[in-house]
Subunit: 252 residues, 2 copies
């Protein structure tokens, strides 16, 4: 499996990397969040820009990014606009979704950009090209907040993401039973045994929390922890998360 290196973080090696979301609505809130995150043992911050009240103003988005970067100069920043259809805060046109992501990828000031698989392939490929031209890694993602697809479907989505050029394929699904959590873990294990790129998977909500801890066993390269506020169901406190990941890492 290829390693994916972003600043001082290597995905696909050792314990899963910890990503903490930033969900501030204003620049002031984002700056406060960034200051707090400086004190936390994390690997990556995800700016969930769909929470940002001025997200539709690209000038303000870029200015806010500069403020975050000034406070967190060495921390990999994953830029994510989570679409409403996949659990995000705000519905926007596909056109704006890609304009936003292309523009920010084009600044080269983000380290990773999230693009959702369920979009026009041509748009996705063009964004990947822009990102890679600007040394920005691509997290390609898919979220099912209602159910857990069959193992084969999870495997095929992750495989397709890699085929399209994703550096880090990612899938998050909702379990309705413990069996669903096993399905996600099984798919993770199957894909990670043969994939070229490290993958990121999680089974959400309380039932799925074990999947956020077990990445090193079954093959998920990153896991999301909450600092101030969780951005998805099942995210546990980032300090607790690090403690358990270290505990499990010691067993290998």
């Amino acid at each position: 499996m290829n390693k994916v290196v972003v600043k001082n973080v290597t995905f696909g090696e050792g314990a899963p990397k910890i990503c903490v979301p930033m969900v501030g609505k204003t620049v002031a809130a984002l700056k406060e969040e960034a200051e707090m995150l400086k004190t936390i043992d994390l690997d990556v911050v995800e700016w969930r820009v769909d929470f940002f009240e001025d997200v539709k103003d690209l000038v303000k988005v870029k200015a806010a990014l500069d403020e975050i970067r000034a406070i967190l100069p060495e921390t990999p920043i994953l830029f994510t606009f989570r679409s409403a259809k996949e659990g995000g805060e705000l519905a926007v046109s596909d056109e704006f979704y890609f304009e936003l992501n292309e523009t920010l990828a084009g600044t080269g000031k983000i380290d990773l950009v999230d693009v959702e698989l369920f979009n026009e392939e041509a748009d996705v490929l063009r964004l990947i090209e822009t990102a890679h031209k600007n040394n920005v890694k691509v997290v390609m993602s898919n979220h099912d907040f209602d159910k857990t697809p069959a193992k084969e479907e999870i495997v095929s989505r992750l495989t397709r993401m890699e085929a399209l050029g994703a550096d880090l394929p990612k899938i998050a699904v909702m379990p309705k039973s413990a069996g669903d959590v096993l399905t996600l873990l099984d798919a993770t294990n199957t894909v990670s045994e043969k994939a070229n790129q490290p993958i990121i998977t999680m089974s959400m909500a309380g039932t799925g929390v074990i999947s956020r801890l077990a990445g090193e066993v079954f093959g998920s390269a990153m896991t999301f922890g909450a600092a101030k506020k969780a951005s998805a169901p099942g995210q546990i406190d980032v300090n607790e998360l690090r403690h358990v990941l270290d505990l499990l890492h010691k067993q290998f």
Copy 2:
């Protein structure tokens, strides 16, 4: 699913119960261990009597039990002679194995007795009868230190244990891959969804540690933690274990 209540411990409800093994060779060592265990947040102690140097002297075994019980009056004691063929310290005849377990079960001073599935059925049934007559619960166990059997085989062994009258069927298997850990978790989930009795399962060694934490998700009612010394590969520190089990319990 039936609950199994032993003193103040209810198996099959809430977080998995924590069992800590006692592996002292002498009465003095066992007394020292018992004193230390008084200070630890555990639910059950397992006296691994195959470690006891005088195990072949039933008078001394009963005397040692009285010493342990005097120090731990309220703690459920699981009496286990682990056979050499299933990972224990000492090879003994089947005849002695059943004489020892019948005698100790007959005292009514132990709370649970471990009997291994792979024995003559008549002997197993007789020990269960003696145990139940003396209000002693039966943990029926099976250990594979070499491999992880197929899911169907794990399911059938656990199901057979219940059919024979076990209060708590238990199986411990060795993973050679993450896939093996999934097999154990899958079998656990399948059995616990339909069984009448709570079950105890674990995938051993470092790869299997996640199975020692995930009992509340997939259906294992007890997990083994180490205080002074682990009695099987993959047992983590009992305090760390309690911390993670509580963390996961909070997610439900």
